[in-house]
Amino acid sequence: MLTPASTPIDLAAWRSRALAFERAVKTAVLGQDGAVRLMTIAVLCRGHVLLEGDVGVGKTTLLRAVARALGGPYERIEGTVDLMPNDVVYAAFVGEDGRPRVEPGPMLRHGEDLSVFFFNEINRARPEVHALLLRAMAERSLTAFRREWSFPHLQVFADRNRVEREETFELPAAARDRFFMEIAIAAPAEPELRRRLVFDSRYHDTDRLVETVPEAVVDFRGLAALASAIQEAVHAAPAIETYVFDLWEALRAPAGAGLIVPGVAMDRLVQGGASPRGVSALVRASRAHAFLDGRDFVDPRDVAAVFGPVMAHRIFLSAAYESRRDSVVPALLEAAFAHVPVPR
């Protein structure tokens, strides 16, 4: 059921559907309310998401639950060292008659209706595969079988574990910038939830767990129209524009803005601040956050709620601080929020 752009969209109904989507995902994923909210925002903004976290904290389960609640064709691929771009696009095999066959691979199998492409352990794949994925993410299109394929509903979800560094290929800066959000997943902190995760048999079998998630709670075909409707309907006041711009400036030149992070030479910290694409993603995510909150305007809390996941991976530090990224970037964001006044 495709909603033409001309027909007005019932935002209130869509909001309750989005909240239902959140609830559906939460039935399978325990203690990740923040991450689920961020995933919902990414879905409402048609943004690609990279999940990062330790091994076995539920990244894959979360992505599978989201894909199921979203409905639509869904494809999954595992990143490995020997995975080549052709393996993503084509499936080559020897047919029953002994002759070689080439058929559409994972990405093309469902045609142009593909809604979720799920790339597991993306940092194990080679840069050639990253390049293919970059184009698919940025342009939602692909060239195969001598023709152009476009995927209007495509959303790429990827995950990578940050424990291993062996036999992995770091994502280039350009690739990370194309991810709308980078969400850090950690095991829930509450002892009660952790006990349930370990002892409740419901969480032992991931396949059965994901099957309990209601299917197609939101219609993936309507999301594109909804995303632009949200961006038009939710108001960003001049005070918010000033705030976002000030935050952007502060991260671009932290020393000039007067930010202080203990033990860090601020004038040498940042090599490149966030890109305009990144800041526009921030504004879109803030609007979606306000929409989920039931408001028709953005306020500073919306910006603060999505700032880290949207912006942290788009700040490029100088080489001296890159290895301390995990501690320096949160401290930098914290300093920016403690320093930039709002309203001004």
């Binding site: 108001h235 006041a237 005070a239 918010i240 028709d296 305007f297 953005v298 306020d299 500073p300 809390r301 603060a304 929020f337 403690a338 320093h339 930039v340 006044p341 709002v342 309203p343 001004r344």
Partner: protein, 303 residues
């Protein structure tokens, strides 16, 4: 003075380990001594020794006599060496020594000044040259058996009391300057006892009282809200938003009774600054002023 009275060819002990073909000439020492006798306790005796050595001999400065107490009765006050230069392959040094005698003799007596040994070096071989001992006769100053009378003493002078007033004045003024500097430093660094209590809300209330006189306009209310926002930022120690109200009240429990009004303020500000259709009615400027005064009152009572 006996001018080179005794051209003593004191071929002073030359410790030569020489096996060289051309045996070097002996060093020569000529003394220039003070007169033989007529010396009293306390007199200064100046003598000189002219030492002539082969040009390739270099004096070791470490062997020069240092001014010191030579004996219990003799003091060497000064020693001076003059390099006279080389002539005919021989180098001349002039060593001037100034002794002072403290010997109190009961009768005229000849005293002997001990010898001085100088070391020279010629290509690694040490050579010593001795300035020989010499004598002078010293005599008592006064009659040995003369009775001691008080009149022999010089006029006693009244003991002088040292005037400490200038020192007291100096010490007092230095103390005052130090205290003043310390006070200024404490004031400058905001240290006790000059610690200025930061009163953001009092400042905000004052600023709002002042704006009452400014021309009225649509921006005035926004400006008033911003003044209060900055005051909250200062009081909270970082930028404060609507989400921070609970943390603020927990950190500063004195503001607990105003908690609802603080939350309402942030809501009102949100409606003005961020809402899609800005509402301007909820709180008037007078309400804001009263709110600032209430905050300032709490702040005054409890820091």
């Amino acid at each position: 003075m006996r001018r080179f009275a005794a051209p003593l060819l004191l071929a002073a002990l030359v410790g030569l380990s020489a096996t060289g073909a051309a045996r070097p000439a002996e060093p020569e020492v000529r003394l220039d001594l003070p007169r033989d006798h007529g010396w009293w306790i306390g007199d200064v005796l100046a003598m000189a020794a002219e030492i002539t050595v082969d040009a390739d001999l270099v004096l070791d400065p470490a062997s020069l006599p240092r001014p010191r107490t030579v004996d219990y009765w003799l003091e060497l006050r000064a020693a001076d060496l003059l390099d006279g230069g080389v002539r005919d392959g021989r180098r001349t040094y002039r060593l001037s020594l100034e002794y002072q005698t403290f010997y109190a003799p009961l009768e005229p007596k000849a005293m002997t000044v001990p010898p001085v040994v100088l070391a020279f070096r010629a290509g690694g071989d040490p050579v010593t040259v001795t300035v020989p001992p010499w004598r002078f006769v010293t005599a008592p100053v006064r009659e040995i058996l003369a009775p001691t009378s008080p009149a022999a003493l010089r006029d006693p002078r009244a003991p002088q009391v040292v005037d400490t007033l200038p020192a007291q004045v100096r010490a007092g003024s230095a103390l005052a300057v130090t205290a003043l500097a310390g006070g200024l430093f404490a004031w400058h660094r905001n240290l006790p006892p000059f610690r200025r209590r930061d009163r953001p809300f009092a400042d905000a209330a004052r600023a709002l009282r002042r704006t009452r006189k400014a021309p009225d306009g649509p921006d005035r209310r926004r400006a008033a809200l911003i003044v209060l926002h900055r005051a909250f930022d200062r009081a909270f120690g970082r930028r404060m938003g609507a989400a921070d109200v609970a943390a603020f009240v927990t950190a500063k429990p004195a503001f607990m009774p105003l908690g609802e009004r603080i939350a309402a303020f942030f809501e009102a500000s949100r409606a003005v600054f961020f809402a899609a259709t800005p509402t301007d009615g909820a709180t008037s400027e007078d309400d804001l002023r009263a709110f600032a005064e209430a905050l300032a009152a709490v702040e005054r009572r409890r820091p």
